[in-house]
Subunit: 340 residues, 2 copies
DNA sequence: TTGTAGGCGTTATCAG
DNA sequence: CTGATAACGCCTACAA
């Protein structure tokens, strides 16, 4: 009886098969150079012993893990899920494994997770948005771990990114609303501190106002966490202002769904009494009623491209190349025309 | 100039501080036994060098990673998100890090991910549901990695579990519907193969039918993937049967939201023309209209308890103890009373 | 309190 | 094609 209390190692397999560890290693890594006969012997040994290579040891010796890490702000809603799924699929196609962590929108947590993932040997990292302390990028440089940012395109940022321009996307939506006659815009945004996506979306609305000859300073966005109930309450706050807005632009579809719920709660009809818009175009946008007019983001394409770019950075040891995706407006009926 | 092209190691820190690696190691692991003076020296060395311990090396030497792995069927919707968030928070409170992977409901992918996580040194694993090949449990035993199953309570299963009884939960809902006069039940289920939750929910409905003196065999659930559009199409299929159901029980809230959309598309009023129910009580259930009558699952409590139990299993090297959570019915108006 | 040294499981170099 | 053997970075008795 062999010891059943400790996982089998390369050594065990080698002994069992009557060859050296080097040979077993070669077989496992398919580096050719192994005769047909020994191949079957080794394979059998592996199977009967139930051997699995130890990543840690492998990593120490080879410095590669074929693992990519991703840290997303939240798993509590579907915003990042779809793109991440595509990211993972593309990664798998190339033989890489994805490890995900969620920071709950806390910069501190994100920083720890970055260190964890790096220390665990992630070959590359996917992060959401550009906003974070420069020291983090310094650290990543020192550790020589390639980073790619998604969900936000910004050429001027320190890290390469695959995403869309949050500002112009939101600006286009705001312009559409303005062109439909709305003049009093309310906005429910996510917390903008440490979140360039949220911030740029606000900027987009301001730019649109300016373009229509209105004062950008009149926009005072309500910043709340990205939960349905927050959107619900925020809508109530906005509507109880002295001059309530005729349209409420929300930072994302989740907030918009909440706003919709809030409107219903207050007995307001959407879009007759107040128009509401979202951002992201997740499935949620299509099941609420009225369905949300929103900004469609090509989530899956973003995920796939990000995976390909990051893998290229890792394998070719080169700097990342940013890629800008286009968003489109989707009109679904949660916005009504307004006269004057 | 030191070499700037490779991350600093324990050795570097030791040299810089003028002590041995053992001392630095002791300092890092806070094993006491380090004089105040050397402490500051080491700390400074670590900071100026920007040192981060290498997990792989650490794992090889110490066999512990303080990391827990979790594999969920999907990230595409919020079903698992909430519980997982709580799981992660509880883990963090105890000094553990969570690594998540999604299998996209593919047993093959799940198996690979289990191996990956184990090989990476996960101290313990959280899996969803009991259904999987026995070899996987054998493998886990051999590797001595504790596993806990969530989202499904089953004393008779091989692995310990923290969850609820999917059958009785669904049975209670079906009984409620029956007691409201419905006699023709339609069901949209997730794919039940390899998914004990889905299977047990179907069983629950059958048990309820039996209890009301109806033939359980008359229930022919439509099995579809867990997407909104699948629920939408499935509802159409059900309603175009010779004798359409008066109520459609859905395997989860996502399918129910889809069914709701399908009903709207067909010009059917819910619940007047057809009643619809969900399962899970995720936020989605409250934003669709009508809001969904569904089964409330204590997601956060489940996540927290799972974390505590799994950590106990890891630290005390003991078998897991199953824990059963209670679910409750939430009546929100998507079911109407039916005469006869 | 501190240092020395062996070992953890792989990979990879270099001889056979 | 195959086999020794030296790293890889850290932890932890065992000594001092």
């Amino acid at each position: 009886m062999a010891d059943a209390d400790t996982p089998p190692t390369l050594d065990d397999v080698a002994h069992y098969a009557g060859v050296s560890t080097a040979t077993v290693s070669r077989f496992i890594n398919k580096s050719g150079k192994v005769s047909k006969r020994t191949q079957v012997r080794v394979e059998e040994a592996i199977n009967t012993l139930g051997y699995t290579p130890n990543f840690a040891a492998r990593f120490m010796a080879a410095k590669r893990t074929f693992t990519i890490g991703a840290i997303i702000p939240t798993m509590e809603n579907a915003i990042f899920a779809r793109g991440l799924q595509a990211f993972q699929e593309a990664l798998n196609d190339h033989g890489y494994t994805l490890l995900v962590s969620s920071s709950a929108y806390k910069p501190q947590a994100e920083e720890e997770q970055i260190r964890t993932l790096v220390a665990r040997g992630a070959d590359g990292l996917l992060l959401i948005g550009h906003d974070r302390k420069p020291e983090i990028y310094d650290y990543l440089d020192r550790q020589q771990v390639p980073v790619l940012v998604a969900w936000s395109y910004d050429e001027t940022a320190r890290a390469p990114s695959v995403g869309f321009d949050n500002k112009t996307a939101m600006q286009a939506l705001a312009e559409r609303v303005l062109s439909m006659g709305h003049r009093h815009i309310g906005m429910i945004s996510g917390i903008s501190e440490g979140n360039d996506r949220a911030r740029r979306r606000i900027e987009g609305v301001r730019a649109a106002l300016q373009g229509f000859g209105l004062d950008p300073a009149t926009l005072s966005p309500l910043e709340v966490p990205y939960n349905i109930s927050d959107g619900d309450l925020a809508l109530e706050t906005l509507m109880s202002r002295p001059t309530p807005p005729s349209v409420v632009l929300c930072g994302n579809d989740v907030l918009a769904a909440g706003a919709l719920r809030g409107a219903k709660r207050l007995g307001l009809d959407v879009p007759r009494d107040v128009s509401i818009t979202g951002f992201d175009d997740i499935e949620l946008a299509q099941v609420v009623s009225p369905a949300l007019t929103t900004v469609h983001v090509p989530h899956r394409e973003m995920g796939r491209r990000a995976a390909e770019e990051l893998i290229a950075m890792v394998q070719e040891k080169r700097a990342g190349i940013s890629f800008k995706l286009e968003t489109t407006l989707v009109d679904r009926g949660s916005v009504a025309r307004r006269d004057g």
